[in-house]
């Protein structure tokens, strides 16, 4: 046995050649780290940094479609400052995000709580809840467009022709506020599955014995909800809220398919306005500037959601005393 060890050691010594610059380089830790990070950095650069950088660059040029632009500094942004349509898109986006998110979370949480109980046809209801999420957004947007159509709306049909509650067909999308609310309803409908299913997953991680313990401790149904369920749901709620705010804030498909920003640009969100200006309007630089102005809002919203409601001390991996 000793003999084999000796042979092994000898062989090791034998193989160990004098250090060349290649071996030295590969033994140098920062270089090795850099080397290992290279593939993922490459992916990030190609798919994230390049488009983002291009957008940033475009927003500071006067590029139009078919014409390479010149660097104009912050001129595009200065113009936006005096642009009432841009400011309306900003307030629209904030209003749309706040109201739709509130709606989605109220209804989504309610559905999740319902589905977390033993109710008949649970699997069936869960499948139905998922439907709006499965249907491609453009398809559902077209469906909503039909529902809101001035001539063919099923809602108008029910209220006017069946119930005779009203004489004239509703014009959902004809004036600014009804159009905005119509879009919000469609967005809530579309966003509920994500919220409900995510929160349901969160609810199912809460051990039933906690509720039994609370029951014996004398908690009422409402007390169990806000002293046990809500705090334990917070971490997953924070993640869902962040993602949902991001999706809603940068929503494009629903609005563009249902109203195209109309009537008279009153329902434009920042995303649809950016597209409108950049592609049909051919002002690539200006469109890019609008898109870039979304970034600070998105970062602020993310930070607020994540640090506002996320990360609790009782969770794993954080010291508290």
């Amino acid at each position: 046995m000793d003999a084999t060890v000796d042979v092994g050691l000898q062989r090791l010594n034998f193989v160990r050649a004098p250090d060349t610059w290649v071996t030295k380089l590969f033994d140098y830790k920062p270089f090795l780290v850099f080397l290992c990070l290279l593939p993922s950095m490459g992916l990030l650069v190609v798919f994230l940094t390049y488009p983002l950088g291009l957008g940033l660059w475009l927003s500071m040029t006067d590029t139009t479609i078919g014409q390479p632009g010149h660097f104009v500094g912050l001129e595009n942004f200065q113009e936006l400052m005096d642009d009432p349509v841009f400011w309306m898109s900003v307030t629209n986006t904030i209003f749309y995000t706040v109201v739709a998110t509130a709606g989605k979370f109220t209804l989504g949480l309610w559905l999740a709580l319902l589905l977390n109980h033993h109710i008949p046809f649970k699997a069936f209801i869960r499948a139905i809840v998922l439907l709006p999420w499965i249907v491609p957004t453009v398809l559902s947007a077209i469906a909503w467009w039909w529902i809101y159509s001035p001539q063919f709306s099923i809602v108008s049909y029910v209220f006017v022709d069946l119930l005779h509650w009203s004489d004239t067909y509703f014009n959902f999308l004809g004036s600014p506020w009804p159009a905005r609310w119509s879009l919000i309803v469609a967005n809530i409908w579309r966003g509920i599955p994500f919220v409900a299913i995510t929160l349901l997953a969160g609810l199912q991680t809460i051990s039933p014995s906690l509720y039994e313990a609370a029951l014996l401790d004398g908690a009422s149904g409402w007390q169990k909800f806000y002293r046990i369920t809500v705090p334990l749901l917070m971490p997953i709620l924070a993640v869902a809220l962040t993602l949902s705010v991001l999706f809603t804030f940068s929503d494009f498909q629903l609005v563009y398919a249902i109203t195209r920003g109309g009537p008279f640009n009153t329902t434009h969100l920042m995303a649809t306005l950016a597209f409108q200006r950049a592609i049909p309007g051919a002002q690539l630089g200006e469109g890019a500037a609008i898109a870039v102005s979304m970034i600070p809002f998105l970062i602020a919203a993310t930070l607020l959601c994540f640090f506002g409601v996320g990360r609790r001390k009782w969770q794993q991996g954080e010291a508290n005393d």
Partner: protein, 352 residues
């Protein structure tokens, strides 16, 4: 402090009945242990006392008040769950204060109660920690603390020690017993560990597949098991059973060996019987019956011997040190007064 009466209680889940008419009377301040093999319905019975399961038929009364239709929180009981069920988002202090704050107790009184409970359980240094920052034993103590702050009429424990390691289990066993002696609150404790039952209980309820097999003080069950199930379940290592019949005032095993009967039992003549003798009730004696040794296991304080005796493999535990080798023959005899006879057909203890 309270009495608990369980009267002919049945429980059905769907169409299967899991408790078939259980009756237990629990005195004020008593420490009662429900023990039995897994799935026999101990937890179900405990949860029925707590109000977490409804009662399919029969009655449960706490202090003469029938609680079948009383909500759990009005029953004035506290329960320690097997997995402790501590609220992960609350500190130890808040976990213990939870029930008191729900009862709208003034803040200063809550503090006082929590301090008292934490003092009793040695939890003072941990009041500001979260459950995840505690060891298993400390969590177990918090679960008990949550129960004792309320000063309930009855404590319910569902296998509170089964998640702990062997050493800690022995320590906590002593702590719970001491706590009971100090608070003298009526306690119902579920376990499947008969040693836990023997060491802690004032009264043991042995259950088997939804029925109560026997109720009694630990040593009563050890000395006079009512039937084969209790005889085999209580005591460790388990009792040895030898099949045979009673003939001419003695027990004759199937292979013809004659064993002394604990008492004259003329009524048993000719019927198939089971002779039970605990390992520690075999004696080495020169004029005993031969037994062929298979395995000798010295544990220090005693020597356990597995041997073939009267055609059956038995386990004996001797205070003496046995030097016999496997294959050799030793001479042993069951202690006459401490052996048991059961009816083979019904499993019931045979009393003359």
């Amino acid at each position: 402090m309270a009495t608990v009466s369980i009267r002919n209680v049945r429980k059905t889940f769907g169409s299967t009945e899991v408790l078939h008419g259980v009756s237990v009377g629990i005195e004020d301040g008593e420490f009662v242990i429900l023990v039995g093999p897994s799935g026999c319905g101990k937890s179900t019975l405990l949860r029925m006392i707590a109000g977490l399961e409804n009662i399919s038929s029969g009655e449960i009364a706490i202090d003469d008040r029938v609680v079948n239709n009383v909500a759990p929180k009005e029953r004035d009981i506290a329960m320690v769950f097997q997995n402790y069920a501590l609220y992960p988002h609350m500190t130890v202090r808040d976990n213990m204060a939870f029930s008191l704050s729900l009862a709208n107790m003034p803040k200063s009184m809550i503090d006082q109660q929590v301090q008292r409970a934490a003092g009793i359980l040695g939890l003072m240094p941990y009041l500001n920690r979260y459950p995840r920052q505690l060891s298993g034993g400390q969590r177990q103590r918090v679960a008990m603390g949550r129960a004792i702050v309320r000063d309930p009429k009855v404590f319910l424990f569902d296998e509170p020690l089964s998640n702990l390691d062997a050493k800690l289990r022995v320590q906590m066993r002593a702590e719970i017993k001491e706590l009971h002696q100090r608070l003298t609150t009526t306690t119902v404790y579920v376990t499947h560990d008969q040693i836990e039952a023997m060491t802690m209980a004032d009264k043991i309820v042995v259950m088997n597949s939804g029925n109560v097999e026997q109720i009694g003080a630990p040593l009563e069950l050890y000395d006079r098991p009512n039937n084969l199930f209790v005889a085999g379940f209580i005591g460790s290592p388990a009792m040895n059973f030898l099949k045979g019949t009673v003939a001419n005032g003695a027990f004759r095993t199937d292979d013809g060996t004659t064993l002394p009967l604990p008492n004259a039992s003329p009524g048993a003549e000719g019927r198939p019987m089971v002779y039970g003798v605990r390992p520690e009730h075999f004696q080495l004696s020169g004029d005993g019956l031969p037994a062929t040794v298979h395995v000798v296991e010295p544990t220090g304080s005693e020597t356990q011997v597995i041997a073939t005796f009267a055609g059956t493999q038995v386990l004996c535990a001797f205070r003496e040190r046995v030097t016999a080798k496997p294959g050799e023959t030793i001479r042993i005899t069951p202690t006459q007064a401490l052996s048991h006879v059961f009816d083979a057909a019904t499993g019931q203890r045979f009393v003359a």
